[in-house]
Amino acid sequence: MIYREAGDFHTSYREDNQTFPIRFDRYRYYAVLAIAFVVIPFFINDYWANALLLPFLIYSIAAIGLNILTGYCGQVSLGTGGFMAVGAYACYKLMTAFPEVSMFIHVILAGGITAGVGMLFGLPSLRIKGFYLAVATLAAQFFLVWLFNRVPWFYNYSASGQISAPERTVFGIAVTGPNTESWATYLFCLIFLVASALIARNLTRGTLGRTWMAIRDMDIAAEIIGVNPLRAKLTAFGISSFFVGVSGALFFAVYLGAVEVGEAFGIQKSFLILFMVIIGGLGSIFGSFAGAAFLVLLPVLLKVVGADMLGWPTDIVAHFQLIIVGAMIVLFLVLEPHGLAQLWRVAKEKLRLWPFPH
């Protein structure tokens, strides 16, 4: 009824090509942004920030990053955990070397360093494809984790081999360290997420995004029509790693505060983010959000319902969590192989016609 384009005329290409061409959609988007920026910071508490919102925001950035590489450019990567570790360790080294610099700059620089490392490990993608590339990025994952464990310079020679974030500020407000306000960390991550999503959306519908998709759909054909595979693949690796690096830096500095590379950035992290992208929807920015929300919030929801509300033993709840999340992943993939984003698209199509589907 309200969700329809009747009366919503587009008189220029610009209007026709906007991200949310339907007026209702556009207002909903503005409303979500307004609530996220203006309303939530006033109501947020430590539990909501640290248990739900921060991981959701940070994993969303990582999922956007991997979605660019895997969803848009078709290059399967199992090295996401390793690249997040690069972001985290780069951020740590920068934070400790230049304490007076704003955290914004550190996180962006950490993303830049990760982009460089990602391009380096992306070089083999020019020669190898598919499963073989997945194996090559898996090597990156293991190598990077090993490196950060092995070379004491990366963790400033601390006895435990852990890195822990000292207090750093943005415009005089602490965003890392123990004495942070939850609204500050939340807003800090939210700004990065919104910026990442905007950049990713605009990149993927521009020239660069089209070359990525051409490579994804058929690389030989793309090469024949004049797409440079070297440029397309390396930019995909670089930009994807930039976002992954930013998320790694935030994951360490803002969310956890202290990190041990093998545990926080191990192979299971790579798989987790790959699952987010697959469940959310390959080649969709919204899918990155949906996938991250699904895999971050669902386990917590199950825990709250099972252990806190129903009072079941915690081990039973933990096992149920695995079973239910696993079953839902299988179910989703069987019923909708294109992920939650496709479900959302179908729902929107139906809504456009509702209540007169014929």
Binding site: A159, E263, G311, T314, D315, V317
Partner: protein, 427 residues
Amino acid sequence: MKLKLTTLALGALMAAGPAMADLVFPSLSYRTGPYAANGIPFADGYADYFTLLNERDGGIGGVKAKVIECETGYNTEKGVECYESTKGEGSLLYQPLSTGITYQLIPKVTADGIPMHSMGYGRTSAKNGSVFNYIFNYPANYWDGASVAIKYLLSENGDSLEGKKIALVYHNSAYGKEPIRTLEELAKKHGYELILLPVDHPGQEQKSQWLQVRRDRPDYVIMWGWGVMNSVAIQEAVNIRFPMDHFIGIWWSGSENDVIPAGEGADGYKALTFHNVGSDYPLFGDLKTYVLDAGKAAGAGDQVGTALYNRGLYAAMLAAEAAKTAQELSGTKDITPAQMRDGMEALEITEAKMAELGLPNFGPEFKVSCENHGGDGLGAIVQWDAKAKQWNMITDYISPDEDVLQPLIAEDSEAYAKENNITPGCN
């Protein structure tokens, strides 16, 4: 308004929450995953002791104790979630049973003003209470453990380890890396050669490490393992016929669940401990009457008397004693986390007190002070008897080499104080 939304959002959670009068002891346990074999007995012991206090004495000083369990799976992210979800319930004391989560929580609990007790794990330099106001690690820590192990080996070898080779098989994490610095310092002092063999999480794959043990032929192997890593290491050591009595585990590598899978082969394996073993104490009688037979045991109730169950029990006992001390100091029954902290800092465990609790000869005597949050660091050696399926304590409590440890602790805690702008001081 803030409170209102929280109440609305977590309404159901709060409804199931405690009445404010309870003394809340959250238990960040892990009953699933590769570390469950060790996590379950500890969590059971911890919960059962508080159940016993509630059933037998009506709580601590007349106030019921409430244990909120939260599953972490030994995972730091879940640890954070558990911490955030339980701290609003009036939690008095955190015992995360994970060095990784401990490191994570040290700054957080300090900022929130809730004490944390990492008993025999965590950050060793937290012993210096003038820097780590809210962190306690009595009665012993990893560096004590490393030193006690070396002292024991010295006594086995006529007070000289000159030219000996000692291998450290360790969990490649903050936990396993803790003793390296101490062992290196002690190597300088006693002239042994230290071989480092890291095992990556979770530790099911150790063929290459034990191949190296076979090749290098160290005289002794010391292990810092946890979870499934322990039983795999002991099995591998059996496979390469490494002499079991030359293999010493830290106290976290000395539970029944670690040695039983290796069967007869594990006979003679040694481990450290900072409390006694077995269930031959008067307290266990009460435990049977009030908890086990009443069907109120945590978990399956089949872990009673095992090494880690006893440790969980001991941890709960120390927490309850600290709460009692806090009640006496503050003159109020409903203590706050800050009062709990003061109680922990004033805690004194004497043999008379232990006997009164029904645990004579169970643990060493010690006294906590602001300068010393770590007790005396006494440790003893237990040896596994595979036929009888039990641990036997084969030494008295050995005190660690404080000459080596104190400078290291001072150095590390000062570095932490400097990093975090803390002015060390006792009030």
